[in-house]
């Protein structure tokens, strides 16, 4: 698998993503979650959620200095990021819009986007 392939793959999957805001008539009513106090989302939180939701490839050291690595270089395609962001949204009770997720190219950008969303989410 070459990096070029990954880039194509990314373009392909990004294109699936809706570009308009969601008009939703209601939320899930059966969710039972612990309401969390305002907290910070860290790179270690992201590492954990990536491992749980999208797995890791053996040749990638997720514990290394990954903040500015491109997600494709870490082995994560758009589906992996959709799964990861869905898990973040559920666990941290934060709304991440489609743009936020798909425009983040690196862990640093995604962590920043999650914290920005947390800062504006009422507890």
């Amino acid at each position: 698998m070459t990096t070029a392939d990954w880039d194509h793959r990314r373009v392909g999957c990004d294109a699936l993503v809706a570009e308009q805001p969601v008009s939703r008539a209601g939320g899930t009513s059966t969710m039972k979650e612990i309401v969390m106090s305002k907290l910070e989302f860290t790179i270690n939180d992201l590492r954990r959620i990536l491992r749980e939701g999208a797995g890791t490839d053996e040749e990638v050291d997720l514990d290394g200095d990954i903040l500015d690595e491109d997600f494709p270089a870490l082995g994560y395609d758009s589906l992996a990021l959709l799964e990861t962001s869905a898990r973040i949204a559920r666990e941290y009770r934060v709304e991440l819009d489609d743009e936020t997720v798909t425009s983040a190219q690196t862990p640093r950008e995604l962590v920043g986007a999650v914290n920005a969303a947390l800062a504006t989410t009422p507890v």
Partner: protein, 422 residues
């Protein structure tokens, strides 16, 4: 002399149209059958629109036992097959059951029944060790969707080869392609072939929500399916079935059958790229198109209408536009291309067969159905997509294509009887 395959009967269950006549009227009028989901409360979901069929199984002669036993998708297939056989004008009882087979496509099988039965046996998801005491006796038939082929074989008393083909969203093309193989090789003389799916159920809606593949255009459901339009943002889930009577061409002619079309060529390829993603260059679909034209012994200049996959996702519509240009060259700009998913939604495995039906009817009626809701073409989709209004157009050779999860890319060439290459 090589055996050839003719379509001699058609039956359709589609959103907004039960029966072939209503189906063609919907398509040629350019009406859309997409609406807010009514089968369940869609409010918890991101995408709340679908193309639902107003289907009353009892009105079509199914007994209460049939209705209890069969998933909605199987019911569609049986009713559509009755219409196809009646349409073929054949004296069914006179046929040799050994020489008739069944090939039915379905992407997601009995999903609707499985979703409903799971709720019960799991007590709304509470139990991991689900309770067998609450399972219906026909749960096994939902578990393995080859039951759809078995239902058709029993209903029409056939004893030739029977199978379900389940290649995701190309199932409807691939099942008919498989049926052609059986007739050509001489295993059967006649096939009940087509596809069915009834996926509009919470689990399906949720799984497409999770990857944002379906449109969230919930405030405007009638215009939610927008293939090739710059504002498209995902597909609209649909349901339905199209079933055909396929016959060996010479024997169909001998009995004086009305031959709608010859299935002149079919091919499928895999993109080996990604389970849901597509490479923008359309290479594998283009290869499938070339192989299908090769089998049909037609070249790009003969193709005069393309019935597109046109799902209305950002990447699909560019992918297949690229595939048409790559396989047909300049001809791609000269032929009308349209997507009926703009009107009847995307019924996953069924849609390939429903699109074969639309292609055949376009040929029969000298009219190309439009792509509804196309107002602002995507600059990267620069072919003639027949926006909004059907067009009078004589068609002797149609290309219809499909593309689906798993990477499957299929293409079929249908020709007017007597107009295909010898």
């Amino acid at each position: 002399m090589a055996r050839r395959v003719a379509i001699t009967g058609i039956g359709v269950i589609a959103p907004g149209a039960i029966g072939v006549k209503n189906f063609w009227s919907l398509l040629s009028d350019g009406r859309t059958a997409t609406r807010g989901i009514t089968f369940f409360d869609p409010s918890p979901f991101r995408s709340q629109v679908a193309a639902e069929a107003d289907f009353d199984p009892e009105a079509h002669g199914l007994s209460s036992q049939d209705i209890r036993r069969m998933d909605r998708a199987a019911q569609f297939a049986v009713v559509a097959a009755h219409e196809a056989i009646t349409d073929s004008g054949i004296e069914w009882a006179d046929l040799d059951p050994h020489r008739i087979g069944v090939s039915v496509g379905s992407a997601v099988g009995a999903t609707m029944s499985l979703d409903q039965e799971y709720r019960v046996v799991s007590d709304e998801g509470r139990l991991w060790l689900v309770d067998h005491e609450y399972a219906p006796s026909h749960l096994y038939q939902h578990f393995v969707p080859s039951s759809f082929a078995a239902e058709l074989a029993r209903e029409f008393d056939t004893e030739g080869p029977a199978a379900v083909v389940s290649t995701g969203c190309t199932s409807g093309l691939d099942a008919v392609g498989h049926a052609c193989d059986l007739i050509r090789e001489g295993s059967t003389d006649m096939m009940i072939a087509g596809a069915t799916d009834a996926p509009i159920s919470p689990i399906t809606v949720a799984c497409f929500d999770a990857i944002k593949a379906t449109t969230p255009r919930n405030d405007d459901p009638e215009h939610a399916s927008r293939p090739f339009d710059a504002t498209r943002n995902g597909f609209v889930l649909g349901e339905g079935s199209a079933i055909f009577v396929l016959e060996e061409l010479e024997s169909a002619r001998r009995r004086g059958a009305h031959v709608y079309a010859e299935i002149a060529g079919f091919a499928t390829r895999c993109n080996a790229f990604h389970m849901t993603g597509l490479r923008p260059d359309g290479r594998e679909m283009a290869e499938a198109i070339r192989a299908a034209m090769n089998e049909a012994r037609v070249d790009a200049g003969h193709i005069d209408y393309i019935n597109a996959h046109g799902s209305g996702t950002k990447q699909n519509d560019r992918h297949e536009t690229a595939a048409f240009k790559r396989s047909l060259g300049p001809r791609a700009y000269q032929v009308p291309v349209s997507s009926i998913k703009s009107m009847v939604g995307h019924s996953l495995g069924a849609i390939g067969s429903i699109e074969i039906a639309a292609s055949v009817l376009a040929m029969a009626n000298h009219t190309v159905p439009p792509t509804a809701n196309l107002h602002h073409p995507d600059p990267q989709c620069d072919l003639d997509y027949v926006p909004r209004t059907a067009r009078e157009w004589r068609t002797d050779a149609v290309l219809t294509v499909g593309s689906g999860f798993g990477g499957f890319q299929s293409a079929m060439v249908l020709t007017r009887p007597g107009k295909g290459a010898a």
